[in-house]
Symmetry: C2
Subunit: 334 residues, 2 copies
DNA sequence: CTGAAAGCGCTTACAG
DNA sequence: CTGAAAGCGCTTACAG
C-alpha cells in the first residue's frame, strides 16, 4: 500500500508537509496543500490509522458500551450516535456489555484500556462501584446516556416526570384504578437515578396527588413475554384495573396481547399506555411517552465530540426531551 | 499510562519477552510467562492497540458495513457477530452505509482504507461495480451476508427456496388466489442474487407448479407503512385475494394492520405469511419463514475469523438455514 | 528460551 | 511556510 513517502515524493515536499496537508493541522500555503492532496488522491493514499494514532495520540474512534445490541431502543440510539460521528471522520467501536462477570472484567480491565478510542459513550447500564472507578481512570471523556449513576457525567430523561406524565394522562381521562407494571428498587433506596424506579415514583406521586391512597404496582421484567404473563394474571383476576401504565412499550405490547387473548377490548374495558415511542407503536395504536432514542444518540455523540473539543460541536444540554403521544389505546373508562 | 518497559523492568526481562508473554506468540518458558503476566496485571498494563497494530500489522478489529442500524434484523445480526468476536479478543467497528453518494465515496475511499480492521463483513447491501472493486482491493478478507453479488464471497439463504416454501404453505392450505407483496427486478434481469427478486421467483415457480397461470405480484417497499398502504388498496378492492405472502415480517405487519382497519378477520377471510422470524411475530400470531439473524451473524463472524486463520474457527458453510413457523395467521380459505 | 535492535508509518516540536 | 529528525510503543527476525 502506498505510504506517505511516495506522496511526498510525488508532490515534491517532505512527509511533514504531507501530514499537515492531509490532516489540516498547522499552517500551509493553499497551493502546497492542494498539490499534496491531488498527489494523495492520485496515488490512492490514505493515512494509516495505527501509525497516525500512535504518533498523534488521537484514534478518531469512539467506543460505545451497549447492554443489548438487538433491542430497538439501543439500535436506534446507535444509529443516532453514528449519524453524528461519521460526518466528522470518527469511527464507532461497539462493546457489548453482558451480565457475564468474566466478560465484564475483561471489557473493563483489558478491551477499554487498549487506547483504541478517544472517548466513550455508555448506554443504560448499571455499573458496579469498581466499574465506575475503572471508567473514571480511563484517560478519555466518558458520556453516560440513561445511566443511573450520578458519578457519570451523563444525559438523561427526567424519568420521574415521565412516570408522572403517563399517570396524569390516565387520571385526566378519569381513571382511578390504575396499575403500574414495571420494576423498582425498594422505597428506602433513597434518591436514585434508576430509571424504572423513578418511573414508578412519578407514578406514585401523581396518584397520591390525585388522592389515590394506595397506588397499585406490579413487578414484571422488561420484555413482551414477561409483561404478557403478568398482565394475563392481573386481567383475569378479580381486581382487574381499568388502566395499565406499562414501563416500556414492549411491556405494553405484552399487555395488549394478554388483553386480546382474554377478549378484553381496548380502550373500552382497558386503557394502556407505554413508554419509549417504539417504532411499531402506531401499528398497535398504542399511547406512549415518546423519548426519541435517535435524537438521544445524536446528543450523546455530540457530547463526546464536544468533550474532545471537536470544532463546531457545542456541548448539548444534559436533559432529554419526552412527550405524550396519545393514540387509541387510552380513553375514558366506561 | 504504564508502558512495556516498566513491565519488563518489574519482571526482570526484556520488552521482547514481555511482548511474547502477553501475546502468547513465540516459545517462552512457563515460569517466565507467568512472571511477566503477574507483573503486567500488577501494574495494570495493557498493550496499546495502535502500537501493537503498527508493529504487527494486526488490528484485532473487524469492520461491519450495515445499511440500517436500527432495523431489528440487522441489529440482531450484529449481536450475533459480536458474540463470536468478543470472546476471541476482536473488537467490532461499525460502518453505516447510507444512500448518500458522498458518504459512500468517503467510506470506500477513505474510512475502509485506513487499515483499521483485519477483516470486513458486509450486510445486505447493494454495491456498485466500483464499490465491489474497491472492496476487492482491500488487503483484508471480506465476507458478505445476504449480499446480492456473486463476486463477493458470502453467506446466503436460498431465497428462491424461501419464496417457494412460503407459497407452498399457502397452496397446501388450499389457497389459489394468493398475492405476493414484495419487490423485484424485471424478469429479464437474468440469474440474480437479489433477495426480493429471488423470493418473488420462488413464489412464481411454486404457483406455476401448482397450475396457477398468472401469479399475482404487487410491489411495495419493505416497511410496515408502505405495505399497509398497498394492502389497504388491495384488500378494499374487488380483487382481494384469500392469502398474502409478504416478503418480510414487517411488511406482513402492515398487511395485518390494513386488514384490521378494514375489519377483515384473520385467518378466516385472509391468510398472511411473512419472512424473517421477527421477534414480535408470536405477538401478532404471524406465520413466517424464520431465518435466524442471530445465527447468521455468528456464522459471518466465524467466516471472517476463519479467513484470518484464527485458531479453532472452521469456515462455516455458506448456505444459511430457514424454516417455516406456522402460526395463527394462516389457515385454509373459507 | 531470551535479548538487542531495527522497524512499523506516521506527527510534531524545533529550527529556519 | 516548510523540512530534518526524534519519537510514539510496540513486534519480530536474527543471533546466541
Amino acid at each position: 500500500m502506498t505510504g506517505i513517502e511516495e506522496v511526498a515524493h510525488a508532490a515534491g515536499v517532505s512527509t511533514a508537509t504531507v501530514s499537515r496537508a492531509l490532516s489540516g493541522r498547522g499552517r500551509l500555503s493553499e497551493a502546497t496543500r492542494a498539490r499534496v492532496r491531488a498527489a494523495a488522491a492520485d496515488l490512492g493514499y490514505v493515512v494509516s490509522a495505527a501509525a497516525s494514532t500512535l504518533a498523534s495520540g488521537r484514534a478518531e474512534n469512539i467506543g460505545v458500551i451497549v447492554p443489548l445490541l438487538d433491542r430497538w431502543f439501543f439500535a436506534t440510539v446507535l444509529d443516532g450516535i453514528a449519524a453524528q460521528l461519521a460526518p466528522r471522520g470518527y469511527d464507532m467501536t461497539l462493546y457489548n456489555l453482558t451480565d457475564d462477570p468474566a466478560q465484564r472484567r475483561n471489557l473493563f480491565e483489558t478491551s477499554l484500556r487498549r487506547r483504541r478510542v478517544d472517548g466513550l459513550i455508555v448506554l443504560s447500564v448499571e455499573l458496579s462501584a469498581d466499574e465506575l472507578r475503572q471508567l473514571d481512570d480511563l484517560p478519555v471523556p466518558v458520556v453516560g446516556l440513561g445511566v443511573p449513576h450520578a458519578e457519570l457525567n451523563g444525559l438523561r430523561v427526567d424519568d420521574t416526570a415521565v412516570g408522572r406524565l403517563a399517570t396524569e394522562h390516565l387520571l385526566e381521562l378519569g381513571h382511578r384504578d390504575i396499575v403500574h407494571l414495571g420494576w423498582s428498587l425498594p422505597d428506602d433506596a433513597g434518591e436514585t437515578l434508576d430509571i424504572p424506579t423513578r418511573r414508578r415514583r412519578g407514578f406514585a406521586q401523581a396518584m397520591t396527588d390525585a388522592g389515590v391512597t394506595a397506588p397499585r404496582f406490579v413487578a414484571a421484567d422488561f420484555t413482551v413475554d414477561g409483561a404478557r404473563r403478568v398482565a394475563r394474571d392481573l386481567l383475569a383476576g378479580p381486581d382487574a384495573p381499568t388502566a395499565i401504565f406499562a414501563a416500556s412499550d414492549e411491556m405494553a405490547y405484552g399487555v395488549l396481547s394478554a388483553a386480546r387473548e382474554l377478549g378484553i377490548e381496548l380502550p373500552g374495558r382497558l386503557s394502556v399506555i407505554g413508554v419509549d415511542g417504539h417504532e411499531l407503536g402506531s401499528l398497535f395504536d398504542l399511547t406512549t411517552i415518546a423519548q426519541f432514542p435517535h435524537a438521544q444518540g445524536e446528543r450523546a455523540g455530540q457530547a463526546v465530540l464536544a468533550a474532545l473539543g471537536v470544532d463546531g460541536v457545542p456541548m448539548p444540554s444534559a436533559s432529554l426531551p419526552f412527550e405524550l403521544v396519545a393514540r387509541g389505546s387510552t380513553a375514558p373508562p366506561r
